[in-house]
């Protein structure tokens, strides 16, 4: 192990690369010819993003001077403050398009749910490193962790921000897995997502998935009760998904899921976004239509093209080359961060870095998956690229913490 204090500049360069792509895309999506079709408050998005990036740079540098112990010691406090702010938001927040998730702080509107991600990660990491490893026999630690994650999710649901909540749930299995949760149970945890996904596509696919997962779990754990649980669980998910799809979900939610499974059913209605997003990306071809030349982008065929559908802008205007570079940058970032975690000796730092990595990864998968119609459309931003100050700041803070922990490997090790 290299114990030399070394700042991970490569991560900084990737970070700069990503937000530069973001700035270019946001500029095109809001300042290009499309500007004439946009309401005026959207037109300021670019300058606002620049401002937030400037602030974030300051914060990133600032965090490097904080003692690494602070993150672990202050984790519960941050978490607590975050929860209080979330509750305040529910009652006093600013309502934007149906969700009350913004808190006005001076001149800025802050999305507390975003900032809460960092606090939750720190709290969960802190809690888990203070316990013995999670095991199949002792699930109490795991359950507490689940609660740490579920509280903000419930508050997010109260704010009508279900999309962000999904990110937390996506992160949970990874955190538990890292903390020692056996493979089989980890797989069981993510099985509802997989089974549900395939059930929406086709019930038969859902059943096959459930069976395959069960077989995997059997071979991984070789425990009868777990296998049976998996089978029952899978069946429940399939039945639940079918019932939800046909009975429980609101018509617009159902339409969205149906549109994902078969967009051509209603091309001008719920299928519209899926079709237009795919068309934007697909028509980009190898090298794209050029900066501010994307017809889908500039003629306003894409919804939320500065946030949730920003990948379409990149794909349309910069083609496979642009989109590919972006995907590679993300993958390099994730790999770099995983390497950081693997070379770290302190479990808290490891867990924080892993969590941050997968938080980004979940955003990455859901956002690009939505844009490319691999997943139903779930409106969450692409880290560092999408417009959104709170998200950018939070993501940067988390990256800064990772860099700090990495940089201070040795000093943290002492307290091991």
């Amino acid at each position: 192990m290299n114990d030399k204090r070394e700042f991970s500049w490569s991560v900084i360069f990737i970070w700069i690369g990503l937000f530069s792509i973001g700035l270019v895309a946001i500029y095109s999506a809001t300042q290009g010819p499309v500007a004439e079709f946009l309401p005026s408050y959207i037109l300021d998005n670019f300058t606002r993003q620049v401002t937030w990036i400037a602030i974030s740079i300051v914060v990133l540098i600032g965090i490097q001077f904080v003692s690494p112990r602070t993150f672990q010691e202050g984790a519960y406090i941050f978490y607590g403050i975050g929860l209080i702010l979330m509750v305040i938001t529910i009652f006093f927040g600013v309502e934007v398009s149906g969700s009350r998730s913004w808190l006005r702080v001076g001149p800025f509107n802050v999305q507390v749910g975003e900032v809460m991600k960092a606090a939750t990660i720190l709290a969960a990491a802190s809690y888990l490193t203070s316990r013995r490893n999670v095991s199949a026999e002792n699930l109490k630690t795991a359950l507490v962790t689940v609660v740490i994650f579920l509280v903000p999710v419930i508050l997010l649901l109260a704010q009508n921000e279900a999309g962000v909540g999904i990110v937390y749930l996506g992160l949970l299995p990874v955190v538990l897995f890292w903390s020692g949760l056996p493979y089989g149970i980890s797989l069981l945890m993510i099985s509802p997502a997989l089974i549900g996904y395939f059930t929406v596509l086709d019930v038969r696919l859902g059943i096959i998935t459930a069976l395959v997962i069960t077989i995997f779990i059997f071979f991984l754990q070789r425990r009868k009760w777990l296998t049976v649980t998996s089978l029952v669980f899978g069946a429940l998910v399939i039945i639940g998904a079918e019932v939800a799809l046909h009975q429980v979900l609101q018509p617009h939610q159902r339409a969205r899921i149906e549109a994902f499974a078969n967009p051509s059913l209603d091309p001008l209605g719920s299928g519209w976004n899926v079709i237009q997003a795919k068309t934007a990306i697909g028509s980009g071809g190898l090298h794209g239509k050029g900066f501010m030349e994307g017809t889908q982008t500039q003629l306003r065929f894409l919804p939320e093209q500065w946030t949730d559908f920003i990948f379409c802008v990149v794909g349309e205007e910069f083609g496979f080359i642009g989109a590919g570079i972006m995907l590679v940058l993300y993958t390099l970032l994730f790999m770099r961060l995983l390497h950081m975690a693997s070379t770290h000796k302190h479990p808290f730092a490891q867990l924080v870095i892993i969590s941050v990595t997968f938080l980004y990864f979940v955003h990455f998968v859901i956002n690009i998956g939505s844009a490319t119609a691999l997943l139903p459309i779930i409106g969450i931003p692409l880290p560092f690229i999408s417009y959104g100050g709170s998200a950018f700041l939070t993501n940067t803070i988390m990256l800064a913490i990772c860099l700090n922990l990495d940089f201070n490997k040795r000093s943290l090790s002492i307290y091991r």
Partner: protein, 615 residues
């Protein structure tokens, strides 16, 4: 747990997580590769279609001009509001209704109709809206998604010339029509009658296409010049007709309120100078947004205004048939111009055939001048008795009476010149005899012709034995300004001799100067040759006929007039023809008393005359 095992576990777990991330990356990159590289050909056109809308540029339909270049039919812009139902938001209905200044309920009804037609296709919501409404829609397009506007045109008739039977009307192409011709699109209006129909392919021009950049709301953002996809429309060719606008207008004015038809043509070329079928209808009510009630009334009117009497009616030509009988009689060797036939006041052949002409000896000239029946019964008697009916029919056909003359208008009908085949078909084999044929000699009975046929035949008398090809269009002016002229076809009828035509001319001159027609048909300063006729009508009042040409020494106009249920041709058709000739040759009408008579006293004087033969 030991350090070592912990370290191993970390390594394994990191591998798993790296695997997950790598898997995610591979799935994403494959998906993006699939969309952007493999399916590029699928999505690129979709995005193209998304952002570009092909708009059809309608070419300007060709104009119709008279012989002096006066525009008779032109195009007038009309403004239409269109809707694409799938893009329209129903909550914008009050705003739309307010801008259109039309009741919400009516607008809603129209929107429903458009929805019923197609949700995706653009259809006309309202046509011929005032310009103010049109521009208000233009200004508010941004808040009315799915609503657009369209500049269209309709036919406009700027002069006094109505001539619905010449010009014809346009209507939307039927499914069969637009399926049969790829240049016709759904909703296109094409010529359904008259010149509009027969010259549809010339008048239509070629549609152009323009690609317009649009945004997701369907708002137009201007022309897209890229890729050279735009095609400029080619305007339709103009029709230069042989119509004389002033003569035509006068003819229409005279024929208003009457029933009948007339055709005036240049006997040297066959070009139609004026053509009227009365009653007429108002083309302007059928242009643009069709007046449905008016259309219904036209179709149910017992006077059948849509029927073109000038080229489609079949009436016995009466005594106007006699000059041609004379020529045929000479050619068949039955008479010479000098042959004198005695008229005792009747002709006997199986029964007594009356002759109102004074008793005495008649040669051809006198027989024409006095319209003696006996002379022509005598000829017909010999034709019938010697079984030369078919020979006779063929010779008559040479004048254009009987067969189709192929004028450049739709719905022309042939006349009837009975031959043995016809007689056999009508009466049965051997079940007809001389008695059935006698009246043919004086243009009654089964003989029937249209004003067009009589005008063509009269032209032959006027030009000294040449058969003309009747036509309305004398030239087609192409988009580039070049003009393709119709070549007049003059075909000498080989057996017609000039001296015989001369004899007829003298007789026909005396019809005008000595006959019953002289009171109202003499034109001071113009020598005219004419022949009156009365067509026996077993169903009611007889029909009046008149054929004429003028000036006699250098004929420039030949005319045939038929007025239905007006009795003697000398009192009905002849004055009308004289006025038209006067107008055409002198450019004005000086005989106000004749015009007044024709316009105001005409019907009253012509009731309840029942006579077997004519004047």
């Amino acid at each position: 747990m030991s350090n070592q095992s912990n370290s191993n576990q970390v390594k394994t777990s990191i591998r798993v997580l790296q695997g997950i991330i790598l898997f995610g990356f591979i799935v994403m990159i494959i998906r993006v590769f699939q969309l952007q590289i493999i399916d590029y050909e699928t999505y690129s056109p979709i995005s193209m279609q998304n952002s570009l809308r092909m708009e059809v540029l309608q070419p300007a339909r060709g104009l119709i001009l008279d012989r002096n270049g006066t525009i008779l039919v032109e195009n007038q812009p009309i403004y239409s509001i269109t809707i694409t139902p799938s893009k329209f938001q129903m909550d914008k209905l009050p705003l739309l209704s307010q801008i259109l200044q039309i009741d919400e309920e009516i607008v809603q009804e129209r929107i429903r109709a458009a929805q019923a037609y197609s949700w995706q296709r653009t259809s006309r919501l309202f046509t011929e809206v005032p310009f103010e409404v049109f521009s208000a829609i233009q200004e508010n397009a941004w808040q009315l998604p799915g609503i657009s506007h369209q500049l269209e045109s309709k036919r406009h008739y700027p002069t006094a010339v109505q001539a619905p039977h010449i010009f014809g009307y346009l209507r939307e192409a039927s499914p069969e029509e637009y399926r049969a011709d790829e240049r016709i699109r759904l909703g296109d209006r094409i010529g359904k009658s008259g010149l509009e129909r027969s010259y549809e392919n010339f008048l239509r021009g070629e549609i152009g296409t323009e690609y317009v950049r649009v945004n997701a709301f369907g708002q137009s953002l201007g022309t897209y010049e890229g890729a050279g996809l735009n095609v400029t429309p080619i305007r339709g060719a103009d029709l230069i007709t042989s119509i004389d606008a002033e003569t035509q207008a006068l003819a229409e004015k005279i024929m208003a309120g009457k029933r009948g038809g007339l055709v005036a043509m240049d006997p040297q070329t066959g070009g139609v100078i004026a053509m009227v079928s009365a009653p007429q209808y108002d083309l302007s009510k059928l242009a643009g947004r069709m007046d449905a009630d008016y259309w219904r009334s036209l179709n149910t009117d017992p006077n059948t205004p849509l029927y073109n009497r000038a080229i489609s009616s079949r009436q016995p030509p009466g005594s106007t048939f006699k000059p041609f009988m004379g020529l045929v009689g000479i050619e068949m060797g039955l008479v010479t111009p000098q042959t004198q036939i005695y008229n005792p006041g009747f002709y006997l052949r199986g029964r007594r055939y009356n002759d109102l002409a004074d008793p005495g000896y008649y040669d051809l000239e006198l027989a024409i001048a006095k319209s003696s029946n006996t002379y022509f019964f005598w000829i017909m008697d010999r034709i019938a008795s010697r079984g030369r009916l078919n020979e006779w029919a063929e010779l008559i056909n040479d004048f254009g009476i009987g067969p189709l003359n192929n004028i450049d208008l739709p719905a022309e009908r042939s006349g009837i010149i009975p031959d043995s085949t016809y007689m056999n078909r009508t009466f049965g084999e051997r079940r007809w005899g001389i008695g059935d044929l006698m009246s043919l000699g004086i243009g009654q009975g089964m003989v029937s012709a249209s004003p067009l046929q009589m005008a063509v035949a009269t032209s032959t008398l006027a030009n000294g034995g040449y058969k003309v090809q009747p036509h309305v269009v004398s030239g087609i002016r192409n988009g580039d300004g070049s003009i393709d002229y119709t070549q007049p076809v003059l075909e000498k009828i080989s057996w017609v001799r000039d001296e015989d035509v001369e004899t007829l001319k003298k007789g026909m001159f005396r019809v005008i100067t000595e006959g019953g027609a002289r009171w109202r048909s003499l034109i001071p300063g113009i020598d005219m040759a004419g022949k009156t006729g009365t067509s026996q009508n077993p169903h009611g009042e007889n029909h009046g006929w008149f054929i004429a040409y003028a000036p006699m020494d250098n004929p420039q106009i030949a005319i045939a007039v038929l007025t239905e249920n007006t009795g003697f041709g000398s009192q009905s058709a002849a004055p009308i023809a004289s006025l038209i000739i006067e107008q055409y040759l002198t450019g004005e009408v000086n005989r106000q008393h004749v015009l007044d008579y024709v316009l105001y006293d005409f019907p009253g004087q012509l009731i309840s005359i029942t006579q077997e033969t004519d004047d």
